[in-house]
């Protein structure tokens, strides 16, 4: 197989002085699926941005098919046969599939766009590569999996031979992921080259031929995937052995802290999102809520934390009714919430780390006098918290938006945990962040449990659900379909059966999660 893409000693320093890529080397063969792995902030995204013309290298050379290239813009990249599927889809929801596919590349009939031809082109690429999508549908109306397919079709139609996929499975259900992998293998067999960026080592092992590992802006090396175990890969990514198992003592659950009874909720599109959910979370226990995303977990969390109204049933925190209570009231009574979307609900990204940790504590007389903030106390304590939660920064005055995902999440965790909650609702607390930060956050959650905090952990990550939870419920289609009081004797496979609806427990078994 011949080399199609070569990166030689590429260095990139951002304006703020951050050395994102330091003499990076990469060699990709035609017709392979090549994984790029590394922690957040290892420089993967920067490298991909340079390959797609969104950033320019300061030093070094990029060769496409043996030719040295200056990739100065996405159109140059497209011209060289490089296509990219971004993590956040680059689609216009208000336009149709065909309109999105041909955008910037429109077939013409005289002065006007030839819509029939556009639809035909979309169908043709779809047929050829097993990526069929109905051209007339509005992109805003189709599923995430289909949107991703549209993105791939878009790139292929523009003649992409090298496809860059940036964490493509982060937004997909397990079924959609399987479909995507089949599609990608089909594309590889048709002679396309795929660069696959991922955090999920299992997926890399399953899908990829070779792997390039990056760490702290350097390339560690390129290997045949078959020669490495997941543990090998993770060791090279973080430069030490990541403990894939969390050490924790057996839980000693106390009294019921959070109690949910017969919770019913009908969602935006008239679909019943919650059908009579009942559960208890006890002090000193981590109750995991597992399930394929979109089975009511999000609604459950938003109703408990007060972000969503309109549910029936009861939710009580130590007997205090939470439905209809203000968020300030429920926080005052001991609730903390690590939201799933840190950029929307977690932080104010243009504000400092210090401000973000302080938020929610502004009523505290340690930090607020009669009129003004006590800035010295704030500075001292927030700085200390940032350090305690190992937020990588020069000072707590730095803007949150400048940090990597893992460090932003640590800021959120620092704020929520430092309010000494009696109930912590952690919604996807480690999604999309590097292994080191994820491990740190999991340890802190266990430590809180040991101090007697009740933790409701919602996660789509099976490993995390099994590793971190003391007991676990599985949600499917708005219902609790399984309850395991002890995760010790539960396998990933068994959990999958319940998540995907192969099995379900009886009402009696499920009702075990109601303790009081």
């Amino acid at each position: 197989m011949s080399e199609i893409l070569r990166v030689e000693r590429v260095t990139k320093v951002y304006g703020n002085g951050i050395l994102a890529n330091d003499k990076v080397e990469l060699s990709v063969k035609k017709g392979e699926i090549h994984a790029i792995c590394g922690e957040n902030g290892a420089g993967k995204s920067t490298l991909m941005k340079m390959l797609f013309g969104l950033e320019q290298p300061d030093e070094g050379e990029i060769y496409v098919k043996g030719q040295a290239c200056k990739i100065t813009s996405p159109s140059v990249a497209i011209g060289l046969g490089i296509g990219m599927v971004h993590q956040h889809f680059m689609l216009v929801d208000e336009l149709t599939v065909a309109e999105n596919v041909v955008l910037g590349y429109e077939p013409k009939k005289g002065l006007v766009i030839d819509w029939d031809k556009a639809a035909d082109m979309t169908r043709e690429v779809g047929r050829k590569y097993n990526l069929e999508v109905e051209p007339g549908l509005l992109v805003g109306d189709i599923s995430v999996g289909l949107k991703q397919r549209v993105e791939i079709v878009k790139a292929l139609l523009r003649g992409a031979e090298i496809l860059i996929l940036d964490e493509p499975t982060a937004v997909l259900t397990p079924q959609e992921t399987r479909e995507l992998f089949a599609e990608l293998k089909h594309l590889r067999d048709a002679g396309h080259t795929i660069l696959f960026i991922s955090h999920k080592l299992g997926e890399v092992k399953e899908l990829c031929d070779r792997i390039t590992i990056m760490r702290a802006g350097h390339t560690v090396g390129t290997y045949e995937v078959a020669d490495l175990s997941e543990a090998d890969i993770s060791r090279m990514m973080v430069g030490r052995d990541v403990v894939l198992k969390i050490d924790k003592a057996k839980a000693a659950p106390g009294e019921v802290e959070l109690s949910v009874r017969d919770l019913e909720y009908t969602g935006d599109l008239g679909k019943k999102a919650l059908r009579g959910v009942s559960l208890d979370v006890r002090k000193g226990e981590i109750l995991g809520v597992a399930g394929v995303e979109g089975n009511g977990q999000r609604e459950l969390v938003e109703i408990i934390t007060g972000l969503r109204e309109g549910a029936t049933g009861t939710v009580t925190l130590e007997g205090f009714p939470l439905l209809g209570a203000s968020i300030r009231e429920s926080r005052r009574r001991g609730m903390a919430h690590i939201p799933s979307d840190r950029m929307v609900y977690g932080v104010a990204k243009n504000q400092s780390i210090s401000f973000n940790i302080l938020a929610g504590k502004t009523q505290d007389e340690r930090y607020t006098g009669k009129v003004l903030f006590k800035s010295r106390a704030i500075e001292r304590d927030m700085e200390a918290l940032a350090r305690e939660y190992t937020v990588k920064c020069e000072s707590a005055q730095q803007t949150v938006g400048m940090l990597s995902g893992g460090n932003i999440q640590k800021v959120v965790v620092a704020r929520e945990m430092s309010s000494n909650p009696t109930l912590l609702v952690a919604d996807q607390p480690t999604r999309g962040i590097d292994v080191g930060a994820a491990e740190f956050i999991r340890r802190r959650i266990v430590a809180m449990r040991d101090e007697g905090t009740a933790v409701l952990l919602v996660t789509a990550d099976l490993n995390e659900a099994l590793e971190l939870s003391d007991s676990i419920v599985v949600m499917r289609d708005g219902e609790i379909v399984a309850y395991y009081p002890d995760t010790g004797d539960l396998s990933e496979e068994e959990l999958g059966f319940y998540m995907l609806g192969v099995k379900r427990q009886t009402k009696e078994e499920v009702s075990g999660v109601v303790h009081g």
């Binding site: 813009s73 996405p74 159109s75 497209i78 990219m84 971004h86 956040h88 889809f89 680059m90 689609l91 216009v92 929801d93 208000e94 336009l95 309109e99 999105n100 955008l103 910037g104 590349y105 429109e106 013409k108 002065l111 006007v112 766009i113 878009k154 523009r158 935006d268 309109g310």
Partner: protein, 311 residues
Amino acid sequence: MEELFSVIGNAAFAASILRVTTPILLAALGAAVASQAGCLNMGLEGIMLFSALTGVFVSSLTGSAVWGSWAGLAAGVLIGGALGALLGYLVLTLKTDATLAGVALNTIGSNGTVFLLYVWTGSSGISSSHKSFVLPDLEIPLLKDIPVLGTIFSGQNVVTYLAFALVLALIFFLYKTPLGLRIRAVGLNPDAADSVGINVVRMRYLAYILSGVLAGIGGAYMSMGYVSWFARDMTSGRGFIALAASAMGRSTPVGTTVASLLFGFTMALSNSMQTLSIPYELVEAVPYACTIVALSVYAYHQVRKSKKARK
């Protein structure tokens, strides 16, 4: 009341709606084009004033009754496009705030035209001391002989026909041509447009220039069709009414046209009511009051719809 109805029920009143709507419609289309590309053109008022003055000045300079007004229109369009480009340069290249840049342009438009008018004519109020020419009215064969319809639709100024032709042209441009699709894509999701190699800044420049051209035609019409002179602040808020019309019409050509006609109706009504024995100030306030009412109704409707969507 009876008097009022006799005024409104008149074919001449219907004709006057079209006449009054013309400048609002043109400027509103300008606002709509900018908004389709995700840009705000707050400077419509200023652009209209400059174009109105330029049109009169150039047509007067030529001294030709035959083509002087056409040269004036061309000059007005040119200056409109140039000011659109200037706004684009301020907002897109120098990255100033679009609202502030627009307000600045309006302020310069209001005072700068008076200054230039004074330099040119020695009067700071009106240009009537210098003879300028108007764009012709068009009698439409056959149509003009049909009662009522003939009165309404024939004998309008050439720019009025042009304005409605431009509505069709804009629909064609935005929804049928590649460039139109790209402009809309840039407005809907600039990142998506950028990722397929569309130059977002260039598209937005184009939108600002088109916006300026459309407002420029509207401005030239004010001084060379609506009346035959330039007077200080003669646009009296039409640029802002146009923004409201574009917002109400969701920036689609058809919606914007319907909204513009609504505002045109209220202005025509206000003009006609001046013949009745109602206090002048009250009559003058009618279009602006209607703007507030219409916007409130529209906003109420939007809020209810989004609430429904959320439920």
